[in-house]
Amino acid sequence: MEVLKNSFSGNVYLATIAGVDRVKENVFELNYFVHIVSLGKTIVIRTSTPKTSPRVDTIIDIMPGAFSAEAEIYDLFGVEFVGNRYLRRGFFVPLDVASQGTHPLRKDAQV
């Protein structure tokens, strides 16, 4: 991510991070969509993290705009971002669901 930002001299912004729960391969797939302003195009970077211990490094120190996307994915999927100290459980999900400890967007969650 830092290489990308430096190579375009800071003219990029993070569009969003989309999380997908792949049941068949048993991973969480994360897609980072980055928009390059000078070219006018959007590119996607894919990573996956195993479901048993989902931890990914945070990019909030290089790109502070990832705050809302990372908070949403932590709340709805349970993927923990190492280094981001603003993650909270009741961010999007209402408090009665969050207290049960379920992460709503997983495929096996009953809401």
Partner: protein, 403 residues
Amino acid sequence: MDTESAVKDATTLLKIPISLEIPIGPQHPAIHEPVMLKIYADGEEVVHAEINTGYNHRGIEKLMEKNSYYKGKFIASRVCGICNTVHENCYTRAVEHIAGLEPSQRAKYIRVLAMELERVHSHMLINAIMAEVIGFDTLFMYIMRDRELVMKAKEVLAGNRVLAEIHMFSGVRRDIDGLKREKILGLLKRLEPRLRYYRKLFEEDSTIHSRLAEVGKLKPIDVLNHSLVGPVLRASGVKSDVRAEDKHDAYGEVPWSIVTRPEGDSLARMLVRWDEALESLEMCKYILEHLPEGPAVVDEKKLPRTFPPGEAYARVEAPRGELVYYVISTGGTNPYRVKIRTPSAVNVINSAFSYVGHSVADVPVILVSYDPCISCMERVTVIDLKGGGEKRVPLNYLARRRC
């Protein structure tokens, strides 16, 4: 339980010993939906701000996985009431990419007409709200009265004033004939001098200038780092617009230009919106005079029931910013995952840094200039920490306080 945890939270986070936490509570008459902004103020100056969301979460992404693609289109319309046509457009284009359908030329022009009419009425609405927040109620009433002309035009075009369900996969659902065209053109001609007058008023009036100029200044590098989109981006000098970059539907053929301003404060953001509204009006008139011939309406009985596997990422320029839909399909009648990222989610949540250093009375002005559409996003709550109690202060109260 909420109050105690809030107090505990605030006292542990408090870095400055003498500081007042002011909640701009979820229920207030100035903004349509509930939002909580936690502001830590030292005297009259804001030192720290936090945003709490989560009051309006309706579980739409999970709901779309359980319903078919066609019902998903109606659900996508209802994510937001003001920008419903652009939500439909984004979802429709994403599914058309997966299924390999292509709309006709006339259908593309009618889609652009619906979206541009919506842009005009949405910009008029947010400017009216800004006028109300700074106390200029008369202007608010007059802008809303003139907005009725646009709602009537939408009713002539689509059959309903607010929710124009005009998109369908590979085309549109209704068509225009000569009589409707004349009606819409007449309404637009009546609207144009009013829009020009309001734009001139915003530039020259001294009340608006004293409240809005130099408030909430954002540098371009800050805006890009924090992923703010839409008129916020364009009012800081960055030339970026989804309509010009992707050239989807008929935007490549209708002549228009991107509007930017170099200053980056709240007044620049509102003026960018008025200029965009005038551009949209010109585009609507051009489309009505240059409609191509051909079929536009889709026969809904002949559309496929199941869709092939694939994925699609579609972007569209909503009146508030850049709206993104990411649809994944693995075959079958229901989508596997639909991800919606609305512009208000990034504009409001990521912008907590921009309140620092301003006085408390400037906070509503900055918030409204980002154009929060909380039903797209969520709420922001403000917590008041003085004396250990939670006091909900309406936004109007804060807006009218003078130092």
